[in-house]
C-alpha cells in the first residue's frame, strides 16, 4: 500500500503544472520560466523517490510488494461497470523504478539545459514542451492500462515532434520533425489496432485484469492466432517508438533537435517506451498459466528484429562522422539489445510454462536492467557530445580532435560513458549486456536460431566498443582540427555530467545490494543472485566472451584512430556499403511511400474534380441544354398543342394503370 495515493498523482501533476504555467506566462517570467520547470521536476523526483522507497520498504525486493492500482477517473462509462474506461495509475516494482529513473534523468537534463539553452530564443517554448514531455513519459510508465499508455505515448510523440522541430525555421529540422512524427505514427496505428483487439477480446485494457482473464478466455475467445496477433501489434508500436528496423529511419534525422532533446527524448526516455511496452506485453507472450499455449511466433519475431537491428545499426554507427548520428545509431543498436533480451527471455519462460516448470525471468530482468543502465550512460554521452558541440560549434568529428586538453571534465566523463557503452567491467554496460547475451545463448539450447542471434549480439559488442572509442579518440585524442577556440562548459553543464558519470559505475553495481536486479524487476517470480541469477560456470565464460570482444574492439579503435597504424578504410568499407543501403534503400522506401501517397492523393483529387464534380456539373449543364431545346417547341401553334394534350392524356392514363399495378406488386412483396 502506498501511504498517500495522491502523491503518485502529484508526480504527474508537477510537470503538467509547469507546462501550463510556462506555456501561458513563460514569456513574462525571468529566463523563460526555467526555474519553474526545474523546481517542478525536482518535486516530481523527490515524490518518485518517496514512492520507490515505500515500495522497497514493503518488500519490493523479493516480490513482497503487491501491485497497486490507484483508482482515478472514469473516462468513458459503460453499460457494464467493469467495462468502463478508467484513468488510473499502477504502482508496481517496474513502474516505481521507472518513475525514479525518468524523473531523475529529466531533472538532470533540465538543469543541464539551464546552461546549454541559455542563449536560445524561444526558451519558454522549449521549457513548456519538455515539461509536457516529462508528464507524458511519467504517465506512460505509470499507466494502468494500454489505452492510457497509448495516450501518454502520443503526448510524448507530439513533444518529440515539436522539439525536433525546435529550430523550425531550419528546413532540415522541420523535415526531420515531420518524418519522426509520421514514421512513428505507422507504429502507433498498429498499437491502436492492438488496443482495439485487446478491448474486444478481454473487455478491459488494464494489465492486471487482462492477466486474470487470460486462462478463462483461452482458447475459445482468445484464439492462439489472436494471442500471436496482439503482442505483434503492440510490438509494432514499439518498433516505431524505439526506432527498430524497418521503422528506424526517423531517429538519426531527429538529431536536428537541440542536444538536450536528443539526450532526454531520443536516448534516455522516450525511445525506451517501446521496450517498456513490450515488457508490459509479456502478459501475452508468457501467459504464466499451463492452460494457455504461449505465442512462440511473436516471441521469435521480437527477438529476430532485435538481433538484426542491433548489428545493422552498429555498422551504421561505425561509418558516420556526425557525433550525434553516431550516438543515435548506437541508441538504436542498444535498444535492439533490449528487444533481443526480452525475446530470448520470453522464449525461455514460454518453454518453461509449456513444460509446467517454474519460470525464470532472467531475460526480462536483463533487458530492463540494460534499459536502466543505458539511460544513464547514453544520456551522459549525448550531454557530453552537447558540451563538445557547444565548445567547437560543429557536429562533425573530423573537425574535432585533441579536445582532452581544453575540456578535461568532458573528456573524462565521455570516457566513462564510452567504457560503459563498450561494456567493460566494472562499468554498467558490462553487466546488463553480458547478461542479455548469456540469456540469448541459453535460449539457443531450446531453439537453435538463438545461437545465430547470439553471434549477431557478440559481433555487435565488438562493433560497439569499436565505434564508442572511435568516437572518443576522434574527439579527444590527437590534434585539434577545428577552427573555433574550444573551452570547457560551465559548471551547470558539467556537474550533471559528473553525476551521470558516477552512475555509469554505480548503476551497474546497484544490483549488489539488491541481490540481483532480477530481485527487484521480474516477471512472474523474483530471482536473487548476481547480477541476475545464481551464475553457473557457463555464464562466466559467456561474460568473458562479451568482455573479450569489447576489449578487442577497443584495441582496434585505438590502433586505427589513436595510433593510426591501421588505415580506417580497411575496416569501414563493408560498413559503408550497409550505410549506403540504409540511406538509399531503406530511406528511399520511406520517402517512396511518402511520394506514392502524394501521387495517389493528386490522382484522387483529379478524380474528385473531374469525375465526381464533373458529373455534377454535366447534369446541370445537360438540364440547361434540354430546357433550351424544349423552349423551341413552344411554337404558339394551336394544332401542335392539341396533339400534345392528347398525348399527355394517354401517358397519364397509362401511368395510372401502371402505378396501381406496381403498388399491388409492392404490397405483395412486403408481405
Amino acid at each position: 500500500m502506498i501511504a498517500f495515493e495522491w502523491v503518485v498523482w502529484l508526480i504527474l501533476l508537477f510537470p503538467l503544472a509547469a507546462f501550463v504555467i510556462v506555456g501561458l506566462v513563460g514569456r513574462r517570467l525571468p529566463e523563460g520560466g526555467d526555474h519553474v520547470v526545474v523546481g517542478a521536476m525536482a518535486g516530481s523526483f523527490v515524490l518518485s523517490l518517496y514512492v520507490f522507497i515505500q515500495v522497497l520498504q514493503q518488500g519490493g525486493l523479493g516480490g513482497g510488494f503487491a501491485p497497486q492500482t490507484i483508482q482515478g477517473y472514469v473516462w468513458i462509462p459503460s453499460l457494464l461497470p467493469e467495462n468502463s474506461i478508467k484513468i488510473s495509475l499502477l504502482i508496481d516494482n517496474l513502474s516505481a523504478l521507472m518513475l525514479v529513473l525518468v524523473s531523475f534523468l529529466c531533472l538532470l537534463i533540465f538543469v543541464y539545459s539551464l546552461g546549454y539553452m541559455h542563449e536560445e530564443d524561444g526558451k519558454p517554448r522549449y521549457y513548456a514542451e519538455v515539461s509536457l514531455f516529462a508528464t507524458g513519459m511519467l504517465g506512460t510508465v505509470s499507466a494502468d492500462n494500454f489505452l492510457q499508455l497509448l495516450i501518454f505515448w502520443e503526448i510524448m510523440g507530439l513533444c518529440s515532434y515539436l522539439l525536433i522541430g525546435f529550430w523550425y525555421s531550419k528546413p532540415e529540422a522541420a523535415a526531420a520533425a515531420k518524418k519522426a512524427f509520421l514514421v512513428t505514427r505507422v507504429g502507433d496505428v498498429l498499437f491502436l489496432v492492438g488496443v482495439l483487439v485487446i478491448w474486444n477480446v478481454f473487455g478491459t485494457l488494464s494489465f492486471g485484469e487482462i492477466q486474470g482473464k487470460m486462462a478463462s478466455l483461452y482458447p475459445n475467445t482468445l484464439t492462439p492466432q489472436l494471442l500471436t496477433l496482439i503482442p505483434l501489434l503492440l510490438f509494432g508500436g514499439a518498433v516505431g517508438k524505439s526506432a527498430q528496423f524497418p521503422l528506424h529511419a526517423w531517429l538519426p534525422d531527429a538529431m536536428e533537435g537541440p542536444t538536450t532533446v536528443s539526450a532526454l527524448i531520443h536516448a534516455a526516455t522516450m525511445v525506451k517506451a517501446g521496450v517498456y511496452l513490450t515488457a508490459r506485453a509479456f502478459i501475452f507472450l508468457v501467459p504464466l498459466s499451463s492452460a494457455v499455449q504461449p505465442p512462440f511466433t511473436a516471441i521469435l519475431v521480437i527477438a529476430g528484429i532485435g538481433g538484426f537491428t542491433t548489428l545493422f545499426a552498429a555498422t551504421m554507427a561505425v561509418v558516420n562522422f556526425d557525433i550525434k548520428r553516431v550516438l543515435a545509431f548506437s541508441t538504436i543498436s542498444q535498444l535492439a539489445y533490449m528487444f533481443l533480451g526480452l525475446g530470448a527471455g520470453a522464449y525461455i519462460m514460454a518453454t518453461e510454462v509449456s513444460r509446467g516448470e517454474a519460470v525464470n525471468s532472467a531475460g526480462y530482468s536483463a533487458a530492463l536492467y540494460h534499459l536502466f543502465n543505458h539511460a544513464f550512460f547514453k544520456a551522459l554521452l549525448f550531454l557530453g557530445a552537447g558540451s563538445v558541440i557547444h565548445a567547437v560549434a560543429t557536429n562533425d568529428m573530423r573537425e574535432m580532435g585533441g579536445l582532452a586538453k581544453p575540456m578535461p571534465v568532458t573528456s573524462r566523463v565521455m570516457l566513462f560513458g564510452a567504457l560503459a557503452l563498450a561494456g567493460v567491467i566494472p562499468f554498467s554496460g558490462f553487466f546488463s549486456k553480458g547478461e542479455i547475451l548469456s540469456v540469448t545463448f541459453e535460449a539457443g539450447s531450446e531453439q537453435p536460431g538463438f545461437y545465430l542471434l547470439y553471434a549477431l549480439g557478440v559481433g555487435t559488442a565488438f562493433l560497439t566498443a569499436f565505434y564508442a572509442f572511435r568516437l572518443w579518440f576522434m574527439t579527444f585524442h590527437g590534434e585539434y582540427r577545428g577552427h573555433v577556440h574550444p573551452h570547457e562548459s560551465p559548471p551547470v553543464m558539467t556537474v550533471p555530467l559528473m553525476i551521470l558519470a558516477g552512475f555509469t559505475l554505480v548503476s551497474g553495481l546497484l544490483a549488489y545490494p539488491m541481490q540481483g536486479f532480477g530481485n527487484l524487476v521480474f516477471f512472474g517470480r523474483p530471482e536473487a543472485g548476481f547480477p541476475l541469477v545464481g551464475i553457473p560456470v557457463q555464464d562466466y565464460l559467456l561474460e568473458g566472451v562479451s568482455m573479450g570482444v569489447a576489449v578487442l574492439g577497443l584495441a582496434l579503435a585505438w590502433a586505427v584512430y589513436a595510433t593510426k597504424r591501421v588505415p580506417a578504410e580497411r575496416f569501414t568499407a563493408s560498413a559503408r556499403a550497409l550505410d549506403w543501403f540504409d540511406r538509399k534503400v531503406i530511406d528511399g522506401i520511406v520517402n517512396g511511400v511518402g511520394r506514392a501517397g502524394v501521387v495517389v492523393a493528386t490522382g484522387t483529387d483529379r478524380f474528385d474534380r473531374q469525375v465526381i464534380d464533373g458529373a455534377v456539373n454535366a447534369v446541370s449543364l445537360e438540364t440547361v441544354r434540354t430546357s433550351l431545346r424544349l423552349r423551341q417547341r413552344q411554337t404558339g401553334q394551336v394544332q401542335s398543342y392539341a396533339w400534345v394534350v392528347v398525348l399527355g392524356l394517354v401517358v397519364v392514363i397509362a401511368l395510372m394503370f401502371g402505378l396501381s399495378f406496381l403498388q399491388r406488386w409492392w404490397a405483395g412483396l412486403g408481405r
Binding site: 468513458i76 453499460l79 483487439v197 475467445t221
Partner: protein
C-alpha cells in the same frame, strides 16, 4: 410544462427581426445580434446543465420526460412541448430534446455567438448579415428539436435560405456558383426525403392507433419512435413492414447523405466552404453537416430500425470510402479552407461507420464525433479566416514561416490540427476510438472484416 424549447426558437427569430429592422447603425446592429445570441447561448447552457443533472436545470422547472402514452413504452425525451390544435390535418407542434439533440443545440448557439463575435468588423450590410445569422440559428435549433415530420421538414428547408444568401452575398469571387450548387444539392436531397415523409404519413394510422389510440394518419414522430421501440422489444406485434421501411430508409438516407456529406454527394461542400464567409463556414461545417447525422440517428435509426438492420452495409461502405477518399484528396489541397472542408468529409465518415456498427458504443461514438468535429472544425475555419485576413492568402505553400510572426495563431492551429488528426488525449480521439471499438466489435462488421474478430463476435454474442 415549460416553454424553454419554444423560447429557444423564438429568441433568435425575434433577434433577427430586431437586428434587421432596428439596426440603425452598424454598432447597434452588432450589439443587438450579440445580445440575442448570448441570451440564446445562456438558455441552451441551462438546457444542457439540466440535461446532465436535473437538479441544475431548476431554472426551467424539472424536465418533463414524455409521459409514456401506454404502459411499456419508453422514449427518454426531456423537455417536451406539444400543442395539438391542428391535429385534424395530422400536424402537431411538437418539440422535444434528448441526449442526441441537446449537445447539438448547445453547439449551434455557441458557434453562432462565436461567429458573430468573429465578424465584429463586418461593414457590408451588417443588418442583413447578422439578421441572417440569427435566423440560421433559429432554423438549426428548430431542426434539432422538431418532433413532427412536417415541422422537421419546414425547419430543414428554412436552413437553406439564410445559408444561401450568406454564401451568395458575402462570399468569395465564385460565390454565385457555390451558393447555387449548395441550394440545388440540398434541395434535391430534400425532395427525395419528402417522398418518405409522405409515405410515413399514409402508413401512420395503425401506428397512431397503437400508441395514442387515435386511428388517423399523423406526422407525429413520437408515435413512430414509441412504436418502433416497442416493436423492437416485442411489445408491439405489428409495425411498418420491412418491405415498406427499406425504400423509406433509402429515400431519407439520400437527403441525409447529401447534407452529411458523404462520398459521392460531397462536391458541394468544398465549393461552399471556399466561398462562404468565415462565420458561414463555421456554421456550415460545425452544425449544418450534423443535420445529416442527426437525421440518420433520429429518423433512419429511430423510426425505421428494421431497415437499418438490413441496410447497415450501405453506411459502412460509404463511411469507410469517405474517410479514405477524403483523406487522400486532402493531401492534394493547396487552399487551407478546401483542406479543412475535405477533412470534414472524412470525419463525417466516422459518423457513418459508427452508425453502421449498430452497437451502443459505436452509435455513441458517432454522436460524440459530431459534437467534437463541430468544435474542431470551428477552430480551424476561424483560423483560416484570420490567416486570410492577416496575410491575404490561404495558400498553404505561401504561408511558410508564420510561427515567427504569429506565434499564438500557430499554437492554436497546431492544437486544432492535432485534435483533428485524433491525437490520443484530444477530443476527437475519444469519439474515433469509440467508433473503432464499436465497428470492430460489431456483429455486422466483425463477421466480415477480419478472421481475427470472429472471436470478437462470439464475445459480443455472449455479452448480449
Amino acid at each position: 410544462m415549460t416553454y424553454v424549447l419554444t423560447l429557444l426558437i423564438l429568441v433568435p427569430l425575434i433577434g433577427a427581426v430586431i437586428a434587421w429592422v432596428a439596426g440603425t447603425s452598424h454598432r447597434v446592429t452588432k450589439l443587438i445580434a450579440l445580445t440575442f445570441s448570448l441570451v440564446e447561448t445562456a438558455l441552451a447552457t441551462f438546457l444542457l446543465l439540466g440535461f446532465i443533472n436535473p437538479g441544475w436545470g431548476v431554472f426551467f422547472g424539472t424536465p418533463t420526460a414524455t409521459p409514456p402514452p401506454t404502459a411499456g413504452a419508453y422514449v427518454p425525451l426531456y423537455y417536451m412541448e406539444r400543442y395539438s390544435g391542428w391535429s385534424q390535418f395530422g400536424f402537431n407542434y411538437i418539440v422535444g430534446v434528448d441526449g442526441l439533440s441537446v449537445p447539438l443545440i448547445w453547439l449551434t448557439t455557441l458557434l453562432t455567438t462565436l461567429a458573430i463575435v468573429f465578424h465584429w468588423d463586418q461593414e457590408d450590410r451588417p443588418q442583413a448579415f447578422f439578421g441572417l445569422f440569427l435566423f440560421l440559428e433559429m432554423t438549426l435549433v428548430g431542426v434539432f428539436m422538431a418532433l413532427d415530420l412536417l415541422l422537421f421538414a419546414v425547419f430543414w428547408e428554412l436552413v437553406i435560405i439564410p445559408m444561401f444568401f450568406l454564401i451568395g452575398i458575402w462570399g468569395g469571387p465564385n460565390r454565385r456558383y457555390a451558393a447555387l450548387k449548395f441550394l440545388i444539392f440540398t434541395q434535391v436531397g430534400f425532395v427525395i426525403m419528402l417522398l418518405s415523409i409522405f409515405a410515413l404519413y399514409f402508413n401512420s394510422a395503425g401506428v397512431n392507433a397503437a400508441v395514442y389510440g387515435t386511428n388517423a394518419n399523423t406526422l407525429d414522430m413520437t408515435a413512430f419512435l414509441h412504436a418502433a421501440l416497442r416493436h423492437q422489444t416485442g411489445a408491439l406485434a405489428t409495425y411498418l413492414t420491412v418491405g415498406l421501411q427499406i425504400p423509406m430508409f433509402a429515400a431519407f438516407l439520400v437527403g441525409f447523405l447529401v447534407k452529411l456529406p458523404s462520398f459521392p454527394f460531397h462536391t458541394w461542400l468544398p465549393d461552399a466552404h471556399v466561398e462562404a464567409p468565415t462565420g458561414g463556414s463555421v456554421l456550415l461545417a460545425g452544425v449544418l453537416l450534423k443535420m445529416g447525422g442527426y437525421g440518420i440517428f433520429r429518423i433512419d435509426f429511430g423510426i425505421l430500425p428494421d431497415a437499418a438492420r438490413s441496410l447497415w452495409w450501405v453506411l459502412a461502405i460509404l463511411g469507410t470510402v469517405s474517410m479514405v477518399y477524403a483523406a487522400f484528396v486532402c493531401l492534394a489541397q493547396v487552399d487551407l479552407k478546401r483542406l479543412i472542408a475535405y477533412s470534414s468529409i472524412g470525419h463525417m465518415g466516422f459518423v457513418l461507420l459508427g452508425a453502421s456498427s449498430l452497437t451502443v458504443i459505436g452509435v455513441q461514438g458517432g454522436i460524440f464525433q459530431m459534437f467534437n468535429h463541430g468544435i474542431i472544425t470551428a477552430i480551424l475555419f476561424m483560423l483560416a479566416g484570420s490567416v486570410k485576413h492577416a496575410t491575404g492568402t490561404r495558400d498553404i505553400p505561401e504561408l511558410q514561416g508564420l510561427a515567427k510572426v504569429m506565434p499564438q495563431f500557430s499554437l492554436i492551429l497546431a492544437i486544432g490540427f492535432f485534435a483533428s488528426l485524433g491525437l490520443p488525449g484530444l477530443n476527437s480521439f475519444w469519439s474515433e476510438f469509440m467508433v473503432f471499438v464499436g465497428a470492430y466489435g460489431s456483429p455486422n462488421l466483425g463477421e466480415r472484416s477480419s478472421a481475427g474478430s470472429r472471436s470478437g463476435r462470439r464475445a459480443w454474442r455472449r455479452s448480449s
